[in-house]
Symmetry: C2
Subunit: 335 residues, 2 copies
């Protein structure tokens, strides 16, 4: 055990994309723990697009990060000391913990994971928040039926890849939209997507989508927003469902962008649109994790991780989400 | 019984607002009826905003009106001749019939109404399609709970006035948006709305709404779209519901208007938005009509009609819907 604790604090709320001035790197003592607390040493840290929202102080579904406090994210780590009856030294646990080497946390805010059941990083992906996000957004809001067409934007992102695979399990035609030929080849050849569109090189996305979706679009799982979504909206069928999971095109906007008004189309076609955050489904996590773990074991869901080494690289790994670097789940290995 | 049948045909699909060239007035013989058909003489004709959509041939929830055929709308009339076992001469009936003095119609497409239960025009309003539209849009999509704030745009229109009154029955704070002081006085003094905003004279609608909705907006019943809806969207609460019933601001658009993108807000606040048309609820009409008729009898729902005389004035009465002339339900008395 090292004698110091590196932490990354929120130094300033970013306008637009975060940069160096957003973060403050400090070294502190390793925290002591109170009654019912556990000291966790981080092994892997998850960076996810939703964190950009928490860096701002706008009204949102979760409280913003506090200034001069450590940023937090999904972590898998090892229990170093425990004052909580449910945890012992050496346990592998997961929870929302600091961007740091060590976090002291109330035992009720973390859960134990079994390293023999699945690789521990899956607790940050398929068997964790991104998997559950895909699961509930697609199945509860999207309600896909066999034979229907499901379009997913940000398809090569952590959530998008799971969405497409669950839609295939449900017997749908699945069309992904992503930002490189490499990503699209992976979606089609490895994950079984029926078609994939490269939004960076396709001149007329609407036309490409029309060809990829000869029967229109029944379910749209939206991770990105902006012009890509405009194109999908124009192809929605009667009674189509839109699961609004992310709007990564807009997270770094410094003013409200203008776009074509589409509600007359939603009206004419009786479209349902629902914004959601995975915690809306907190009382159903068990159901989701059970299905996801089963599909993972059966090989019906494959996954890909992109692991960067070193806590100091977390800010750049996070920025990579907005540059579109990531094929699959972006993780940071702390030690 | 007259010897001729006046009809109004769709002469040309309008671009923008309908005008004289949209219509063709003809006189034909009174139609003969086949087996199972009924000849109905129209007494009252309902003009409704949704008809604008059917004048175009864009993909929509209902088939468009056919060129050189009579326009159709909700009619209450009298059975003149019947070849259908369920109808006798003299019965009062309602259904989607021609803009004409007479229509020959299959008996299964009309229903009998009892003139002793309620004024017959209520079959075109509170106890008919507009009432059911308000009922299902508000209750099924909006899911208003006592103490919540409901905002309705187009509040002095036929549907809007019913929406506000049902929301009051459910114990909500109700805020209407309409286009004149006279309308707003009626909404507040006669129908019990808690507040009403005149969008034509209010400089900052968002600010006015903020004052009228100190706890934010939980349910928005949208009849209009455009900038009024932009203002409401900015005040939606977490888990707010938007029932998308009309977009009258856009029915006569000849190109797609631009507006501020709002989906990032919908995402952050887990908002539900659903476009609908009353026929989505066809299998639940009985439930709706039962509740509406009860509330009407109990005086919990009041209504106002605006009746124009003469079939020849139907086109102008229809245009009045877009000019904002109407306080309450616009009807045309045929004879």
């Amino acid at each position: 055990m090292a004698s110091k604790n590196r932490q990354i604090l929120l130094a300033k709320r970013p306008k637009g994309l975060p940069d160096e001035s957003t973060y403050h790197f400090v070294e502190t003592d390793i925290p002591s723990i109170n009654d019912n607390e556990v000291l966790v040493q981080a092994q892997y840290l998850s960076v996810d697009p939703y964190m950009r929202g928490k860096m701002s102080d706008a009204k949102s579904y979760t409280a913003p990060f506090e200034l001069d406090q450590p940023l937090q994210g999904g972590v898998v780590g090892t229990v170093i000391k425990s004052n909580h009856p449910k945890f012992n030294q050496g346990d592998t646990v997961t929870g929302l913990l600091d961007w740091a080497d060590y976090t002291a946390v109330d035992g009720k805010l973390i859960r134990k994971i079994d390293p023999n059941q699945a690789p521990i990083t899956t607790a940050l992906y398929v068997n964790g928040m991104p998997g559950l996000t895909a699961y509930f957004g697609l199945l509860d809001i999207g309600q896909p039926k066999a034979g229907e067409t499901v379009v997913v934007s940000g398809a090569a992102g952590a959530v998008g890849m799971i969405v497409g695979q669950i839609a295939k399990i449900k017997g749908c035609r699945v069309v992904g939209i992503a930002g490189s030929e490499e990503k699209n080849a992976y979606l089609m050849n490895e994950l079984g997507f029926d078609a994939a569109i490269n939004y960076k090189t396709t001149e007329n996305i609407r036309q490409a989508l029309k060809e990829a979706c000869p029967n229109g679009v029944d379910v749209y799982f939206d991770n990105v927003g902006g012009e890509i979504s405009d194109a999908v909206f124009s192809l929605l069928n009667f009674h189509a469902r839109v699961a609004l999971c992310g709007q990564i095109a807009h997270y770094n906007d410094t003013k409200v962008e203008m776009g074509p008004r589409f509600l007359a189309t939603f009206l004419k076609r009786s479209v349902l649109l629902k914004g959601f955050i995975v915690t809306n489904y907190a009382d159903r996590y068990e159901e989701g994790i059970c299905d996801l773990a089963t599909w993972l074991r059966e090989g019906k869901i494959k996954y890909k991780e992109n692991i960067v080494e070193g806590l100091e690289n977390a800010p750049d790994a996070f920025l990579g989400l907005f540059r579109g670097d990531n094929l699959g789940k972006q993780l940071v290995k702390i030690q």
